[in-house]
């Protein structure tokens, strides 16, 4: 059997069974850990859409985690606890921010693009620090998770976990369709050879911008999930090192693979978790590991499993 398919199947099975295993062993922390994995996998998936397929290396993607999270937190604090309002606002606000900074950033290329996306993320990070009413630097606790009438009780860890997992899998499916659609081919073509794309008649800018907005919106949803998961929002959600983490997850898993971001998120977070149990200095291992991957590994874990370079 194709090793990549096997790995994907195993990963899916593991994720599906986590709550069962947690109930058996009575380990609540397992649920917390894996919910985090699934949520950040969704965020990494959205980054990979623009980075892996679109070639737009954004160093400010964690900004949308923050915007989505703060949408939920701010609305909750102001008395609006309904998820039916909070989550669309989280997605919409992220999309708007992506539209604004995308319109400006996409005029630059290469390293300048990396820098300007970083700058815009830093800007919103400082805005969050300045929001005294919503905790400023210390952050804000959210007492009540998003309410969905009688439909879903997010306070139930298992329900919440499966919701996140469902959203992630839906996201993966949507990205898969997107990437093979006309739109997706334009994005991938622009990554491969933008000059050529223009020469054959594509106005590449507008397509890249729309892709950028879609990715921002998806990450905003992840932000709303994250805020619910931790019952807490703080500027740290948007710190540039968080953006770095997302990039690591995307690259580690394999940027051309649909399950890449998920595998990357799982590997990175589980590794971090396990190493923290063994040693007080986990980054003495993780740091060089990242360096190794950066120097020698092509196509991430998916590449190691035999994933070819697809256009």
């Amino acid at each position: 059997m194709n090793p990549r398919l096997a790995v994907n199947a195993v990963v899916l099975a593991v994720l599906a069974l986590v709550p069962v295993y947690a109930a058996r062993t009575g380990d609540p922390f397992l649920m917390t850990l894996f919910t985090r994995v699934v949520i950040l996998a969704l965020a990494a998936l959205s980054l990979n859409l623009i980075m892996g397929f679109g070639g737009m290396v954004s160093f400010g993607h964690a900004a949308y985690l923050g915007i989505g999270g703060y949408a939920v937190g701010i609305l909750a604090k102001e008395g609006i606890g309904s998820g039916f309002v909070q989550w669309p606002v989280a997605i919409g606000a992220s999309a708007l921010y992506a539209l604004a900074i995308g319109a400006l950033s996409l005029r630059t290329r290469g390293v300048y693009f990396i820098m300007i996306t970083l700058a815009f993320a830093q800007m919103i990070y400082y805005v969050a620090i300045g929001l005294d009413r919503y905790g400023g630097d210390d952050g804000l606790t959210i007492n009540q998770r998003s309410r969905f009438g009688g439909l879903l009780n997010l306070d139930n860890k298992v329900v919440f976990y499966y919701l996140c997992l469902a959203l992630l899998l839906t996201g993966i499916y949507l990205v898969w369709r997107l990437v093979n659609s006309r739109f997706g081919l334009v994005i991938r073509g622009a990554r491969s050879n933008e000059r050529r794309m223009r020469a054959i008649g594509f106005p590449t800018f507008r397509y890249k911008l729309v892709c950028f907005v879609i990715a921002g919106a998806m990450c905003g949803l992840a932000g709303a999930l994250l805020a619910n998961h931790t019952n807490f929002i703080s500027p740290a959600m948007m710190h540039w090192t968080r953006s770095g983490d997302l990039m690591i997850m995307a690259v580690l898993g394999g940027m051309q693979a649909m399950f890449g971001p998920l595998i990357g998120a799982m590997t990175f977070l589980l590794l971090e978790e396990q190493l923290s149990r063994i040693t007080q200095y986990p980054n003495l291992v993780i740091g060089p590991l990242l360096l190794f991957v950066a120097i020698y590994v092509n196509g991430g874990i998916d590449g190691l499993l035999g994933g070819g370079r697809r256009g």
Partner: protein, 305 residues
């Protein structure tokens, strides 16, 4: 007015420190095309080395000199062991790899020096303030920082403009492939440039240590500011880094000092306080975004490609 001059001088001082960091970054960027997130780690190591050496030798100056040499050495080793293997890779791989180095160095420092941070104390002669203008007392040490960093900047300028090595650096910044084709020992050149950048970063780190901090992760914030400087100034351009560093240093310092008050004039109390703080933190990023929109390659782009 006195307050303004004081903040202005602080801005110059910050700008000079930023210049030391940015000069190394822009050379590494422009010549080796490497996005180096570990540059802040070299800044941090310089400060830690200085703190330890100063303690052992009981002399700030001796500690500083040893620290610069040690950081230079670390830079050389880093280039040979890790950085040179990244040249052939994509920018994304650079970000990933040097991010890994950043994490590693933070952890290593925590292991060797402990989590609490260090202090670097000044010799007593530098501990007081001097009246540079009627009514304006300015700390001697801050003047020393400005003086020392200007001297180093001058030396750097002399190196880049007046020596053969400097000529190779300038040539490499404007056209990398050509320099290789000229038969120069590129490997050695790259190693030296990286070492030079490390030394500059370490020097900046130790210079700010007595007035600011010596702690884990201290490189992160200033690194971002240094990247902003490099982007505004133009990748590969030391002159650009100098101008942009002063600009950023002044905007940030003067901005933080005056924007909240300025805003207070126009807005109600509670909103203006937090908004003012947020706005002043954002100023340098606003400037960078503005520059990139108007001049996407920065103010003094060095590359001809």
């Amino acid at each position: 007015m006195v307050y303004f001059i004081e903040q202005f001088l602080n801005g110059i001082q910050l700008g000079m420190l930023l210049f030391l960091l940015a000069a190394g970054l822009t050379l590494i960027f422009g010549i080796m095309d490497i996005v180096n997130l570990a540059h802040g780690s070299l800044y941090m190591i310089g400060a830690y080395f200085a703190a330890s050496f100063a303690e052992w030798t009981d002399s700030f100056v001796l500690g500083a000199i040893l620290a610069v040499i040690a950081t230079f050495a670390v830079g050389i080793v880093l280039e040979i062991v890790a950085i040179r293997r990244l040249y052939a890779r994509s920018h994304l791989d650079h970000v990933l790899g040097t991010f890994g180095l950043l994490l590693f160095f933070n952890e290593l420092v925590r292991l060797v020096w402990g989590p609490a941070g260090m202090t670097l104390s000044l010799p007593s002669e530098m501990l007081h303030a001097v009246e540079i203008l009627p009514g304006l007392f300015y700390p001697v040490y801050r003047l020393v920082i400005i003086g020392a960093t200007l001297t180093v900047a001058g030396l750097l300028y002399g190196l880049v403009m007046g020596t053969r090595l400097g000529m190779l650096i300038r040539a490499g910044a404007s056209n990398r492939e050509m320099v290789g084709a000229l038969g120069v020992n590129i490997k050695l050149l790259y190693t030296l440039i990286f070492g030079l950048g490390a030394a500059l970063a370490g020097f900046a780190g130790l210079m700010q240590a007595p007035i600011l901090t010596v702690q884990i992760g201290m490189g992160e914030n200033i690194l971002i500011a240094a990247f902003v400087v490099v982007t505004i100034g133009g990748i590969g351009s030391i002159r650009g880094a100098f101008v942009a560093a002063l600009l950023v240093g002044l905007v940030d310092t003067v901005g933080r000092a005056f924007v909240p008050d300025l805003l207070h004039v126009y807005l109600t109390t509670s909103a203006s306080a937090s908004l003012g703080r947020a706005l002043s933190s954002m100023m340098i990023y606003l400037v960078m975004a503005l520059v990139l929109i108007v001049r996407p390659e920065g103010l003094f782009p060095a590359t001809s490609k």
